[in-house]
């Protein structure tokens, strides 16, 4: 990759191209496709094309109008990718919007919204989300801190917890701002399928799996399981079917 480095302090514009390091402090705009070993921004950054970075870090507000591809990345604040996000390892804190997400490890806290699928190896989440397509991961861990919604969730091990005490800091503030103090902690899904499924506060039409635990606060119309089923007395299950 190129050894060219570029730095914006204050306000500036970068054309696309291939760079070693790209650093934005203040407000920066990238007008074409950009590729960098290292991309970082603090303040506000807008990429009008596609962006590809080995290491990626933003704080404040970041918008990419194309696709974003990252090997290792972190975003705090408001993070928006109009196209697809592809990441080997990504940590999000704050509010995130993407068309779809694919990749390896995704840890997110705060709020997440996608139009399409989220398909990663590990999905570790605290907060509130609205996923428009399939949420699929080898390991799905959801800590509910607000309303969560996905039509379909599938994978190896799926764990949904009702969430402990309120989140502090930035993430807490974002959630507070978005949902007020009502704090609905509930996951809604049509279908949830996994080899091991453990749910709390989940409203679903069908849950299918090997070992299934339906915990307190759940309302599930139909559970189909092959190995074991446990239903908490504080859960409602319409039909239980051993396959």
């Amino acid at each position: 990759m190129s050894e060219r480095n570029v730095r914006i302090a204050g306000s500036g514009t970068i054309e696309g191209g291939s760079y070693g390091q790209v650093k934005i402090a203040g407000s920066g705009k990238i007008t074409g496709d950009l590729e960098a070993d290292e991309f970082s921004s603090a303040g506000s950054a807008l990429a009008q094309g596609n962006l590809k970075a080995k290491r990626f870090e933003t704080a404040g507000s970041f918008t990419c109008q194309g696709d974003l591809e990252v090997e290792e990345g972190e975003a705090a604040g408001s993070f928006r990718v109009v196209g697809r996000l592809k990441a080997t390892e990504m940590k999000l804190a704050g509010s995130a919007h993407c068309r779809s997400i694919s990749g390896g490890y995704l840890r997110a806290s705060g709020s997440l919204e996608t139009q399409g699928n989220v398909e990663v190896e590990t999905f570790r989440f605290r907060g509130s989300f609205k996923i428009g397509g399939l949420l699929s991961a080898e390991k799905v861990e959801i800590d509910l801190h607000g309303p969560c919604e996905a039509p379909e969730i599938g994978g190896g091990k799926i764990e949904v917890r009702a969430g402990g005490k309120s989140l502090g800091g930035l993430v807490g503030e974002v959630l507070e701002a978005l949902f007020g103090s009502s704090k609905v902690r509930e996951l809604r899904a049509r279908v949830i399928e996994g080899d091991e499924v453990h749910l709390e506060n989940t409203v679903a039409e069908v849950v299918r799996g090997g070992k299934v635990k339906i915990g307190p606060g759940c309302q599930v119309k139909r559970v189909e399981y092959t190995e074991a089923l446990e239903v908490d007395p504080q859960a409602k299950v319409g039909e239980e079917v051993k396959e």
């Binding site: 398909e119 049509r190 279908v191 399928e193």
Partner: protein, 215 residues
């Protein structure tokens, strides 16, 4: 019309093949099982996903058989129809099993066939094996050669050799024509389908044959 592809519910796929939900979703994420094969329908027991039966069972059987020998990432290149090798050229098409010596008359140059040209030949060879005349197979090969871009997205793609007989007084004229289209395919009732080639499978077979050759 031919009967529509038989569908099988996801649960049944798991039961028949012994794979887990985790495996199925993992293979989907890797692209080993195309998104287009996941057919979502609502049933009386809620939302269910169905698959084209023959395709999914064949694919899973192949993954299970090959995954002992090769890492999954390599299987993606081998099996996923949407990953098309572009840089490959191959000197001796007749040596590849999906093409074979039947296709000798279909060759149009001595060697160095690109991937999409190999698919065109394999489509023609398949048609010959299903009873097409060499001249008709040539028609199909030319059609495929002209549609190299379309072949890059082979899911659901079918190659048809159709014919129509027009009787007029003492004269009977038979017209043969090639069609490349995605299923479900509709033709008028006077058109007879002489040969129907599942191009998605042809692409897969050519890839597998090349994969074996290149080892």
């Amino acid at each position: 019309m031919e009967p529509r592809e038989e569908l099988i519910p996801k649960k049944e796929v798991l039961r028949l093949t012994g794979i887990s939900y985790g495996q199925l979703y993992r293979w989907k994420r890797m692209g080993l099982i195309p998104e287009a094969w996941f057919i979502r329908r609502s049933t009386f027991t809620g939302q269910e996903t169905f698959f084209p039966k023959e395709k999914i069972l064949r694919r899973i059987e192949e993954i299970l058989r090959l995954k002992e020998e090769k890492p999954l990432e390599e299987l993606v290149k081998l099996l996923a129809p949407e990953v098309i090798p572009t840089e490959v050229t191959y000197p001796d098409p007749l040596a590849l099993s999906p093409i074979g010596p039947e296709a000798r008359e279909l060759l149009w140059k001595p060697g160095d066939y690109s991937f999409s040209e190999l698919v065109a030949l394999a489509g023609g060879a398949q048609a010959i094996r299903q009873g097409a005349q060499p001249a008709e197979a040539k028609l199909l090969v030319e059609l495929l050669r002209a549609q190299a871009e379309t072949i890059r997205q082979p899911i659901g793609l079918t190659l048809v050799l159709a014919e129509k007989v027009v009787d007029h007084e003492a004269l009977s004229i038979r017209v043969a024509f090639g069609v490349l289209a995605r299923e479900p395919l509709a033709l008028d009732r006077d058109t007879r389908v002489k040969v129907r080639v599942d191009l998605e499978k042809v692409v897969e077979d050519v890839k597998k044959a090349l994969g074996g050759e290149m080892k």
